[in-house]
Amino acid sequence: MQQNNWLIKCSHTPESLDRIMMAFRKRGLTVESVFYQKVDEKNASCKLVFMEDDIQAGRIYKNLIRLVDIYEIENLK
């Protein structure tokens, strides 16, 4: 287990946050913290901290990048 600290750039829609959380919820996982913020009318950012190993984090990453509304995921060390 390690702390993962991600900054997700996404579109600002009613479902964006739900879709981000879906990758955790469907695995029965929780996150340490989420900070979702509107950037402008169309865009948002989401800071996400969660504890998982590299393999699990990699799988979550794959699920997230498949989403239409996710533009970029930056791993904040």
Partner: protein
């Protein structure tokens, strides 16, 4: 000059501008304004008898037509009944637009009558969902939804429209339709010269390269390109089940399909290959078997439209993020003087494997599902479209149908939804009215959506149905036999008289208990201008082989029992005789 349009009329007009010609739908309170508008519009609404059939039919339509299928349901139970079909489309990457009515905007969240959070329910099974709160956004939402459905990895989207929004009025420019832009396919191409250089080095250096071709080749309409590529490179190829039709089955470089019930020689090819070219596949667990032992000697080149597939299940050495159609245009020549002999030897070896582990010959002395499927294909046109349900008949259809053209084999691969076949066949018939469309189904699967018989009558769709009836849920029974000591539980099916049932729906039908009766029935069906049901009473207990047991490796593919294999040569003779006999009789 401004005009005023009611929301429902506006939505139907948008559907017309998106060139929706078939809307598989079922009415209800929350879509009454849309139905009112449909009565005056040019979109043909097809009244199914259960919303699940609407979403499966939209799926079948999309696969055959090569454009998104549209379905419509009311709020609450209507919307939730669409869910399995939407999930099926998501699993198999089928472009679809599902439209649902919703309770009035001000009632959302009050637990109103027939209110469900359908956008929430569909989050994990759609590419995107939309709730139209404001008519001003309707055209933008529909065009974006359509664009999302067709672009990138295709898939379903859902648009939820509150009834109050359908009844509101919008003021528009008189010429608004002229400014409406229907979205077009934008093919993804993110490969670099470096990617291709790596790919070329990998493939050119291989002694035993193997192509695995998946559904992506059909979805991207690149089956011509892959056939040319295989011919140019002289690299042997296999496919996934959803990739059936990519290659002609008599292509000498095509070695059928792999996986749980794939050919033993195809599975063996994977295990011995030193480079795998994975083209438009997602390495589903049904094709990999035990993942850690999948293709132990192979380095992998993976080309896919979805970059989330890169290294998802199988370690990939080179990943090319591109639509296959564009990828084939750019794939450098890898065949050269040094590797040509290796490829030739590899193909010769695979041919020896194919000769050693052939698929079981059809035995006309036994009236089983295999015989029935074989007879159906022999007596039907080359361009027939087949939709299957899920179970043993699905696997045998995949194994024994040999002349399927691209996008003419519709099966629920990812989700494995029983009940898919018949409505998918309806969708296919709507998309291709002049084609011979057959639904091959089991007695279990068919009873999940048989209410649609009357839809075929009402729509005058000449869909043909072959019910392979063994009075069992055959695949579950097989697993109980193999893995639960024959402790049969919940698999014995008491069935209705399907022939009389068809008659009750006004559909011509025939029963078959042997090959000759079946041939007569299929000939009658193919000549019949309307729908036709053939009820084939087949061998009760029979197992689909080859098989990779759950948790086993492809190297452990179970072949037929030795005593059966010994008789293969004899059966081949019988097959020729029987075929002649059959041809004479029909």
């Amino acid at each position: 000059m401004k005009i005023k349009l009611r929301g429902a009329d506006y939505v139907v007009k948008i559907l017309e501008l998106l060139e929706v010609d078939s809307l598989f739908a079922y009415p209800g309170g929350a879509v009454l304004p849309i139905y009112d508008a449909l009565a005056n519009g040019n979109v043909k609404d097809i009244l199914v008898r259960h919303e699940q059939a609407a979403s499966f039919a939209a799926n079948g339509y999309a696969r055959v037509k090569g454009k998104p299928g549209f379905c419509l349901a009311t709020s609450g139970p209507g919307a939730t009944n669409l869910v399995t079909g939407i999930a099926d489309a998501y699993a198999d990457s089928i472009p679809m637009v599902a439209i649902t009515g919703q309770v009035m905007l001000h009632l959302i969240g009050t637990d109103a009558f027939q209110e469900t959070d359908i956008t929430g329910i569909c989050l994990p099974i759609t590419k995107k969902t939309y709730l139209i709160k404001n008519l001003d956004k309707a055209a933008q939402i529909f065009t974006e939804a359509y664009e999302v459905a067709i672009n990138g990895r295709p898939g379903p989207v859902l648009i939820d429209i509150p009834r109050s929004v359908q009844g509101e009025y919008i003021e528009l420019e008189e010429n608004w339709e002229e400014t409406f832009v229907k979205p077009v396919l934008k093919r993804v191409y993110k490969a670099t010269e470096q990617d291709w250089a790596k790919a070329k080095a990998l493939v050119a250096g291989a002694k035993k390269p193997l192509i695995i071709a998946g559904h992506g080749n059909l979805l991207s309409d690149s089956w011509k390109e892959i056939r040319e590529f295989v011919d140019r490179e002289q690299i042997p190829a296999i496919s996934t089940i959803l990739g059936i039709g990519v290659f002609e089955s008599d292509n000498p470089l095509y070695f059928s399909w792999l996986g749980m019930h794939g050919m033993k020689y195809a599975n063996q090819a994977v295990q011995e290959a030193d480079v795998i070219l994975a083209l438009g596949i997602r390495f589903d667990d049904r094709i990999t078997g035990r993942l850690k032992d999948f293709a132990p000697n192979a380095r992998v080149l993976h080309i896919d439209i979805d970059n989330s597939e890169d290294n998802k299940n199988v370690p990939t050495e080179v990943f090319i993020h591109a639509d296959l159609k564009l990828a084939f245009q750019n794939f450098p020549l890898t065949r050269n003087a040094e590797n040509s002999a290796d490829r030739e030897a590899w193909v010769a070896y695979l041919n020896s494997l194919r000769a050693q582990f052939p698929i079981k010959p059809v035995d006309y002395d036994i009236f089983n599902m295999i015989t029935a499927i074989d007879v159906l294909e022999k007596l039907s046109p080359d361009d027939m479209i087949v939709a299957t349900d899920v179970g043993q008949h699905q696997m045998w259809s995949s194994q024994y149908l040999n002349k399927l053209q691209p996008n003419h084999f519709l099966t629920s691969g990812g989700l494995g939804s029983m009940g898919f076949g018949f409505p998918a066949a309806m969708g296919a018939q709507a998309a291709a009215p002049d084609k011979n469309v057959w639904c091959i189904t089991g007695d279990g699967s068919f009873q999940m959506n048989l209410q649609e018989l009357i839809t075929c009558v009402q729509e005058q769709w000449p869909v043909k149905i072959l019910v392979l009836d063994n009075n069992y849920l055959g695949m579950v029974r097989q697993w109980q036999e193999q893995f639960y000591s024959r402790n049969y539980s919940g698999v014995d099916l008491l069935n209705p008289n399907f022939v009389k049932l068809a008659e009750a729906y006004g559909i011509e039908s025939a029963e078959a208990t042997n090959v000759v009766e079946l041939a007569d029935a299929i000939n009658k069906a193919n000549k019949c201008k309307g729908p036709f049901l053939v009820h084939a009473r087949v061998l009760k207990e029979d197992n689909v082989l080859p098989m990779v047991a759950p948790g086993a490796s492809l190297s452990e593919t179970i072949y037929y029992p030795a005593n059966e294999v010994k008789d293969f040569a004899k059966k081949k003779l019988n097959l020729e005789d029987a075929t002649k006999q059959l041809a004479y009789k029909v």
